[in-house]
């Protein structure tokens, strides 16, 4: 009689152990399109906290960045990113640019230095957020700089991928996936291309 509860307990723990890899994998899984975007709270370069869930009810664009990455530099210097930011925020979109570069990496810059760099580049984001431990980046599965995510008004992931279809920066005419996704959300239409392969430097997470 006493053995049965012990046996049940043993079975329970064995079952937990058996499913542990799957449970852990599910926890590691980054959000799929249509899934709830993970929440985060990060300080901006001005030191103000910004919580993603506080923007529920608005369309949010997340842009992973690293000013030491030549692809990011091209998008700013060639005047691709700032006008898109300006156009988007002008439509009432919240644009959060996030720097997940770890402080030990040679590309890391202090908030004060970033203010100067992005000011020179005429960036027009809502806020530039610091994610030095990379938790927000890893929660979203941000792989590259730039890597773009668009979140709908319900807080669900609507787009994940590249800014555009021009990794080499050599096209005369580009398809801007972020603009298309935002415009579709504004119009209440389905997003034709919800996932693309992001391109650029890897996010410089802490090892």
């Amino acid at each position: 009689m006493f053995n049965r509860p012990k046996g049940t307990l043993l079975f329970f723990w064995l079952a937990i152990l058996a499913f542990l890899p799957a449970i852990l994998a599910a926890q590691e899984q980054t959000p799929a399109i249509g899934g709830l975007a993970p929440d985060f709270e990060l300080n901006s370069i001005d030191g103000k906290p910004h919580k993603l869930s506080d923007f529920r009810g608005k369309i949010v664009v997340l842009e992973w960045t690293n000013p030491g990455c030549p692809v990011v530099q091209r998008h700013y210097r060639d005047g691709l990113m700032p006008p898109l930011q300006k156009e988007s925020t002008g439509k009432g979109i919240v644009w959060l640019t996030i720097n997940s570069t770890n402080p030990k990496h040679q590309n890391y810059q202090t908030p004060e230095a970033l203010k100067i760099v992005y000011g020179d580049w005429k960036a027009a984001f809502t806020a530039l957020l610091m994610d030095p431990d990379g938790k927000a980046g890893k929660a979203f599965g941000a792989k590259t700089t730039p890597h773009m995510f668009v979140i709908d008004k319900a807080g669900k992931l609507a787009y994940n991928g590249a800014v555009d279809d021009d990794p080499q920066g050599s096209k005369e005419v580009r398809i801007n996936y972020v603009r298309l996704a935002v415009d579709s959300l504004i119009k209440g239409e389905p997003i034709a291309t919800a996932t693309t392969k992001p391109y650029g430097c890897s996010v410089k997470y802490a090892e």
Binding site: A32, C69, N107, V117, K138, G141, T193, C201
Partner: protein, 292 residues
Amino acid sequence: MKAQNMTARAVSIGTVLSSLPLVAMICLASPNALELPGLALTPQATEEKPLRRVELLVLEDRPNEVKVGLHVELAPGWYLYWLNPGDAGLAPEVKWKLAAGYEAGKPRFPTPQKFVHGDIVTYGFTDATLILCDIRRPATSLAADKSLITAVLGWMACRESCITGESAAQMNLSSLSPADLQKSRSVLSLFSNRYPKSLDPADLMVHEARLIKSPGRWTVEMTLSGRDAARVSDFYPYPLDDFVVDHHRIAINGGKLITTVEPANPSAALPILSGLLIIGGSGYEFSIPIKE
């Protein structure tokens, strides 16, 4: 501010050629290739030269076809990406400048190495690589028609940080000597066993590629069989249109090769999956139709 601005910004050939003193300096520094490292943005940028050499080698010069190789040597610690860079990076892009009627085929890369940094998986080359290409001569071409072949390589190289740039290399077929061919062949011999091989059905087969759909993420499950099935250690996929491969979740287990992909949209079609199966560091090319 830290020395992060190491970008060698890509510049057009025309821009560089208009600056003859600069070209002269570059040619003196690198006699085998006309390198276009771009404009230095900071003093540090001039010290960073991830590509030590870019040269165009003629491997075979036949009446109807020229086989060439773009030989790239990297500085220690730097790597260049494969045709599928993986989760990050940029694939090298070769643009050819050829005489009228000449036509370049698809570039062929050696089997790359896999680099894993946390959840980010990339594919590329350290030390050196040799990108092969067959250039077809027009049918009307005469044996005496010797042309200049120019390759312009757009690249991203990374170490701790990344640099992008463009390097050009050229070869005048009219000045090609037996010594040039000999040298080219000796370089090729260093790489010849690194190019992907075809699967031998007697040793290894990939079959029953099954697609399992779940919202936002699809799984392709393939069955491996044959004498070498148990020796397959990895799968390096070729680039897919309309899909993003989760390279970190590629798994081989119990004779099954499992690949997770994210579709551009729910109606995206995945008719074929192709890439390299890795056995003992060598790549074996395959392509398989997918059943839903």
